[in-house]
Symmetry: C2
Subunit: 310 residues, 2 copies
């Protein structure tokens, strides 16, 4: 059997430890395990890394506890604007959708953009039109309603606040994003990221998640990366491609590159968050400089690890 | 007098040489000279690189011959969706707007996002709302109408064509973008890019121009870069940040980094286009692998150079 590996995250914005009841912890870990299984099953069945990251992210999008797809946060008018991106390392093909409403699984839209269009990035209503033409599942507002997200929005909707600052709302911090990286039996890498963005967000704000090079990047020559964190600072730091360049141009290992970016460069500018990364040897890194990061992996030896805090 | 320098481009999508009448050539060169003067005047008056690139790009946006602001191409429903980004090297602050209608000078919206919001990137109607709240000038459809762009759209609007392929429409190829890079007396770099995108574009397509790291990037430690070309391939290649990383991590000179990216890496994947770049020493590079690129510069010695073809 050839080398396969996968790592996923459910966001660096974890719930405060004192609010994590045993039942809630179980639900989070179950969600992570299910997503990990969905992606790993693809890899075991000789599927592609692209398919594996898409399946893992879909599973997290379908889970109401994670801020993507069902469970996406409310924007300032009570709607949902979602972002997603996917990239495959074999040919550097990529697809991204930003600010799209109504898409059940935004990662499938990003994948369709990559596979069935000549474009990389599509936004808002135009992206929705493309989705409809390509049979991507659409859901009504009721599907995206979750009581937890609604209450988070209600708590701040009449303020100018959006969850970019470091306040907590109902004990949960802001960085709700999901993502996955995988290495398949053909030696190909892929990365995928999906998010509902920030509660009460305005102005069609786009973070790093759907931006190739910032929140999402994959290149067989180096690594696959999916980020979660303070999107603006991740965007300005071109985080995912920075890790790839540190490996390609400075000969750093994946661990050295991840440590430099997450624990040094990002910390210096106040860039809270983390990422999951996987190199072409199958090494996995899941660094974060926040209190916690929902994360899980199955390494080259088939060993599973699922964690929330440090 | 301290070192100042500026370089601008009006797109790598030049008109076919045999269609360039003397009158039209004069108009293009005049437009480039005016934009260069607008940016250079800021630098001479001890203004910032940020202000200089914004002024140079505004001048090109106001000129109907260039595909940005007035003169922006028509999308598939006869509207205009514009993209712009600005970044300053002193603190890596950045602002970007994508898919916005009605903004007279999209670069001023990008600058306002950088200076007056906690965000980096805003899209479509949300970005327009932010513009209105910050007094950014809005124009009606009549302002954006130019006969040349209308005819280009009419020629292909009933087809599935958009100008991503290598067809010419009325003798003009596709890569209509404007941009500028500058070095001010304080040693600070900045980059700005603005575009109307592709004629007959659909689906809210976004190219590399408003993507920090892809079409636009600036960092005092390395360089400022503004790109123009086949947006999808520039996005997947994270072109602007790649040049910065080649300098920072591989110790290449600006020229070596630009040559590697534009004449080797992009050519290998069919990525037609070019860029203007400026390093912290004031060296200017304006490489392109297309037939021509509208471009102009004033170097450290105050020498001016304005060109269209090789």
């Amino acid at each position: 059997m050839k080398k396969i590996a996968i790592a996923i995250h459910g966001g660096a914005g974890t719930i405060a430890p004192h609010l994590l009841t045993p039942a809630l912890e179980k639900a989070y870990l179950e969600g992570l395990n299910n997503a990990l299984d969905a992606g790993y099953a693809v890899l075991k069945n000789i599927g592609s890394a692209t398919e594996a990251v898409a399946k893992a992210v879909m599973s997290l999008e379908d889970h109401p506890l994670f801020n993507a797809g069902k469970g996406a946060v409310f924007n300032h008018i009570g709607g949902h604007e979602m972002d997603a991106a996917i990239m495959q390392g074999v040919d550097l093909k990529a697809g991204a959708a930003c600010g799209v409403p109504s898409i059940k699984n935004p990662i499938l839209l990003a994948k369709a953009i990559m596979e069935h269009s000549e474009h990389v990035m599509m936004a808002s209503d135009g992206a929705l039109t493309f989705a409809k033409q390509h049979g991507i599942a659409i859901e009504d507002d009721a599907y995206f309603y979750t009581e937890q997200r609604y209450n988070q929005w209600q708590a701040i909707k009449d303020s100018e606040k959006f969850q970019l600052d470091h306040t907590e709302t109902n004990g949960e911090k802001k960085f709700g994003t999901v993502g996955a990286v995988a290495l398949d039996q053909f030696g190909n890498l892929a990365a995928a990221t999906s998010t509902g963005g920030m509660t009460n967000k305005k102005y069609g704000r786009i973070g790093d998640s759907p931006v190739i090079g910032a929140g999402t990047y994959a290149n067989n020559a180096t690594c696959a990366v999916s980020c979660t964190g303070h999107g603006e600072l991740f965007l300005r730091s071109v985080v995912a491609y920075d890790i790839s360049c540190l490996m390609a141009y400075k000969n750093l290992t994946l661990k050295e590159a991840c440590d430099l970016v997450v624990y040094d460069k990002l910390v210096k500018i106040g860039g809270e968050g983390g990422l999951v990364a996987l190199d072409h040897f199958g090494n996995i890194e899941m660094p974060f400089n926040s209190e916690g990061m929902y994360r899980a992996k199955i390494n080259l030896n088939g060993e599973r690890d699922v964690k929330i805090y440090k």
